[in-house]
Amino acid sequence: MMTCDGIQSLIHGYLDGELDAVTNIEIDRHLQTCPTCAPVYTRCRTLQTALRNGSLSWPPPVELVGRVRSALDAAHPGRKLRSVFRRPGLQLVGALAMVSLIAWGLLSLRHGTTPEDLIIREVVSSHVRSLMADHLTDVPSTDLHTVKPWFHGRLDFSPPVKSGGSDFSLIGGRLDYLGGRPVAALVYRHQQHPVNLFIWPLPDRSDTEIQSRSLQGYNLLWWTQSGMSYWVVSDLNAQDLQEFARSYR
């Protein structure tokens, strides 16, 4: 059970709908009864409402425009920003320009993004959130026969729960949410490195080899096997992580 300090460190993520379903429920329950945390949440929500209803506008900071421009250049070399953003006096451009810039920038960055890219980002975000929120496991156990049955009734599939080999200890499992559906997250540890393995069903897909990618300093591996999609993420080095994936397969 989380303490008030723990709840308050997550209260902004809760307010913004950025937490996993299980943490959301825990915070919901806590806020219903806690005389310390409930007013803090009310203040955050009141501030958010005031800002959103206040018809406020703000010019984009020049350095932010520069960063978006760099990102766009990297994604689409040679493509120019709208003329309004190349004018001197950029700092006077108002809220409308800000909206256009951000929307245009994000749309451009997303252009050419594959569904796989989106899952990769979601997997890394879930991994980071599980570490930040100190919420690696809902069922902390090293026993395969405790972790596997825990998922029964919580998911519409039964994830294969296996040993991670001699160097990787199972430390538990939890529910997570990826690609718009609940998924199983199995958690292993190699020395001080936590490893998240996300599993969900992909019944129509044939088996694939292990694929790999790095993002934000994290290594990812994924493959499909027997109608299940497997995604592994960790700060562990790529070679050891490959060892884990091979052993798990």
Binding site: H12, R43, L47, A50, L56, S57, W58, P61, I102
Partner: protein, 83 residues
Amino acid sequence: MGWAVAHATHAIQNADRRLLIRALEELSTEYREAIVLRELEGLSYKEIAEVTSAPLGTVMSRLARARERLARCVAELVNEERS
């Protein structure tokens, strides 16, 4: 602590647009950027991280600190105007 939180909530409820803008002006560029992107532009944490080239964890903590500071600032400005 409890009284300060309740006071800030009350102050925010009574703050008009001009006062909110003044409070936003008091924030550092970094904090203001986080608030603007989240509350005015409606970006998700992941999108803010992309646009600002900051790690997701930094976005979360920056936004939390920015809101704390903004709430305090609104309360102080309301006090100032009343005195």
